[in-house]
């Protein structure tokens, strides 16, 4: 994870395009400018970044299913539960599955686990839209290439 650059996913461990599921790894760094403010003396990953992490895992799964022809933008966060603190140095597993593949939108369910224990979960909805420019598309493709190459398998 490179929190300050919103690079939340480090590796894709498993991806099933047909069933719309993804398992990704996210390693919380020991140090980050984010921890200077959140919180001084008690560094914790902000809850909004955990939601972003679940959104990115969902997003990469959706992008891959759509062959990067369109971009999923997070539009709705439902029933988000942040069950425990996430601290520097922890290794997180992020699971997401497609709940509904609509026309112009998609819904997923996602969760983050550590050592098999659920830390947070949420239902997420995405607007599916054309890429606003080639810069974003190229960046998504590059990030996807990086995180799929980082896979342990």
């Amino acid at each position: 994870m490179l929190l300050e650059y919103f690079q939340m996913i480090d590796a894709v461990e498993a991806l099933d395009l047909e069933n719309g599921t993804i398992l990704a790894r996210a390693e919380v760094p020991l140090e980050s400018p984010v921890f200077e403010g959140h919180f001084p003396g008690s560094p914790l990953v902000p809850g909004v970044l955990l939601i972003e992490t679940m959104a990115q895992a969902s997003g990469f799964m959706l992008l891959s299913r759509m062959k990067f022809e369109k971009m999923p933008f997070l539009a709705n966060v439902n029933s988000a539960k942040l069950r425990t603190f996430v601290e520097p140095g922890q290794v997180l597993m992020v699971e997401a599955e497609l709940e509904h593949d609509g026309s112009g939108f998609a819904a997923t369910r996602a969760r983050i686990l550590r050592d098999g224990k659920k830390l947070c979960d949420s239902k997420l909805m995405f607007r599916i839209m054309p890429f606003p420019n080639s810069t974003l598309k190229d960046n998504m493709l590059e990030r996807y290439s990086q995180i799929t190459q980082n896979s342990a398998g």
Binding site: N76, H100, G102, S103, A107, M125
Partner: protein, 93 residues
Amino acid sequence: MSTTFEAVAEIISDTSDIPLEEITPEKNAFTDLGIDSLDFLDIAFAIDKQFGIKIPLEKWTEELNENKASVDEYFILSKLCDRIDELIAAKDA
């Protein structure tokens, strides 16, 4: 068994916090009920799931943007329900 309109009205009321009695067939979801496009995603999601269909929102939006259709054509609730019934019939055919 509830009619398509009754089911859609309940979905709209639940997702958009609009009293059920205000939701009538001649109302336009956007201009009369004040539903915005984000709320409508929730509504489309619930309708898709309840009826086992896929409302073609992308196609409708494209037609609206190209002035090939009017908002009333798709989003007056009686007409929306007609479209839903057509999609259900096509699915079951």
